[in-house]
């Protein structure tokens, strides 16, 4: 009997209600508390910064968060399918580098006179291939995801440098200007892209059998295997999906910056934090696509609010760090696993 199952039966044996209550309370504080904190934050900014709670500003935040959001959704899929253990479970460190290379491919194709269709295919193919390499390294070679994606990250970041010679490849096309423009209600098109992409991703992950199986594989691979699911294939596809998200974010990034970017690597840690924060926005304390959108917005509003209040945006990274530690500490408390 594994320790987890022991804990499980402890949890449900019902005769020590106190501990059960404490865990419920921790769970409630984590889940309910984080939503309350989010709401309080919005109210605080609305009162202190007059422009904060306007449709235009909210649209801007959404638009600015689109790239982060798409990447974080990709990572969320990997975390759902790999389990929450960061070292042995699912993680994709190559996502930010993937963004950089896909953007570079897109920008290069456009600037060398190819059409948007070719460029889009090129960027998505790049992202998908990176995901495939990760999948092979993890599922076939059996390399720990943390290390496999770390190595792939280095290669991809290098290829981006080779392709762009560490310069910004500027790109302009009709498609790009549509993306970078404003849509209905004076809200950036990127904001709509983020919303639509979230709906599609959430539809697949939250509402299809495939999504359910992804959760089963990540949470309890033995149970998934016992239910006859092809565990390895599902894990592999989660990395490919994540790679495709990298490719898509590359396209968005080119439109946002009117070219490729040399600083894609900087995105990695915010992406990791955003995906990990996702957990606190779900009742079951599991990562969800909706939760990832909320945590993306939390990070976005924090940055935006601080800007409006003229508070240094450098605080954001520190607050992200503190958030992640709080969340992890609370979840480990909630799961009843204290010090090793």
């Amino acid at each position: 009997m594994s320790a987890d199952i022991d804990t499980l039966s402890d949890f449900s044996s019902g005769n020590d209600g106190a501990r059960r209550f404490a865990r419920w309370l921790a769970g409630f504080a984590l889940h309910g508390g984080s939503i309350l904190a989010f709401a309080a934050l919005l109210i605080f900014f609305s009162i202190t910064a007059p422009f904060f709670f306007t449709l235009g500003n909210i649209g801007n935040v959404l638009g600015q968060s689109a790239i982060l959001g798409v990447l974080a959704i990709g990572l969320t899929i990997v975390i759902i399918g790999g389990g929450a253990n960061v070292v042995k479970g699912g993680i994709d460190l190559s996502l930010a580098a993937n963004l950089g290379l896909s953007a570079a491919v897109y920008a290069t194709l456009v600037s060398t006179g190819h059409g948007d269709g070719v460029a889009i295919a090129g960027a998505l193919l790049t992202g998908g291939l990176i995901g495939l390499v990760n999948a092979i390294a993890i599922v076939i070679f059996g390399i720990v995801p943390l290390l496999a994606t770390l190595a792939v990250m280095n290669v991809v970041a290098g290829l981006e440098l080779v392709l762009t010679q560490n310069t910004v490849v500027s790109a302009a096309s009709d498609f790009l200007s549509v993306l970078s423009n404003y849509g209905p209600f004076d809200i950036p098109v990127l904001a709509y892209v983020l919303i639509i992409f979230t709906i599609i991703a959430a539809g697949i992950v939250q509402y299809t059998p495939l999504g359910l199986r992804l959760y089963a594989v990540g949470a309890f691979p033995e149970a998934a295997r016992a239910a006859g699911l092809p565990v390895k294939r599902i894990v592999a596809s989660s990395y490919i999906a994540s790679g495709l998200c990298g490719g898509l974010s590359g396209i968005l990034s080119v439109s946002y910056l009117s070219g490729s970017t040399t600083g894609a690597g900087e995105m990695l840690l915010p992406v990791v934090v955003t995906a990990l924060l996702s957990v606190v926005f779900s009742r079951r304390l599991v990562p969800t696509i909706g939760g990832t959108l909320l945590s993306t917005l939390l990070v976005g509003f924090l940055t935006n609010g601080f800007q409006l209040l003229n508070i240094s945006s450098t605080l954001v990274s520190g607050i992200q760090g503190i958030l992640i530690l709080l969340v992890v500490a609370a979840t480990s408390l909630q799961r009843g696993k204290g010090v090793a």
Partner: protein, 332 residues
Amino acid sequence: MSVFANPDRRLFTPQFIGQVLLRYAVIAALAGVFAFFSFATTTFLTSANLTSILVNNFTLLAIVAVAMTFAVSAGGIDLSVGTSVDFASFAFVSLVLAGYPVGLAILAALVSGALVGLFNALLISGVGITPFLATLGTLFIGRSSQQLLTNGGNPVYLPQTGISPLFLFIGHGHILGIPVPLIIVGLLIVITSIVLLRTRFGRAILAIGVQQSVARYSGLRVPGHIGLVYVISGFIAAIAGIILTSTVSVYIPNSGGAFMLNAIGATFIGTTLSREGRPNIPGTMLGVLLLSIVANGLLLTGLSFYWQQVGTGLLIFIVLAASFLNRRGRGD
């Protein structure tokens, strides 16, 4: 315990030869890369260039990788090694700038690095957060604090004149013709190798890293040892911060993070050299050497500077794949 001495009698089975090949893949790669660059360029195999590899490419990464090896030995990982480098560098520059003696500034730098480690230790051994997430959190908080300390990330320069010669000596000096940073690294390698291989502390760390539960059932103080490992990791990384600062006479916020990924790569390359797949200082150093030579050699071949990163990444990837296949072959 010994990494190279092999009391095994059953030689020359195909499986054994395969394992040896995989295990010495790093050394073969090292020799191959060395030979390749010697022929491909005229400038690689010169004493000036070889010294430059050691001083410019090897030193700092080697120190940070030693710090990482401690964390990995104990079964964890330290993503915040760069934070310790930065904090040490900041403390060092600030105190020297404020006119304090260099000796005191060095002490403060070492303490700063160790404090970063202590923060990790409290999170990991105290709160029970996994090392990856704890040190990731520290990394983030470290970033913000550095930007706050420097008004949004402005470098802190030391004036060109009037600095204590002792300060410059650490980065630029020579003793008996050997560069001081190299001497420091050499001492560090010897000391940490002895600590990990020959002391009770090192043995405990090893046991905790190999199988924590057995260490616990044997009455070892597991949380205490793990905590100490992160303090040590921060302390060692601080040495890199001191040398870095003394070499370039400036503190650039959040510059230490650049070492983290290569340090992890070197450490895991090192484990493939060990018969038992254990993290070890000599192996890590070979990993650092390999990465340094590739970085330097690719530059000299006249190939685009940017192929360097691709090459390094591919190298780490191949070595990792070999090591995991090797471990699977042993049936772990």
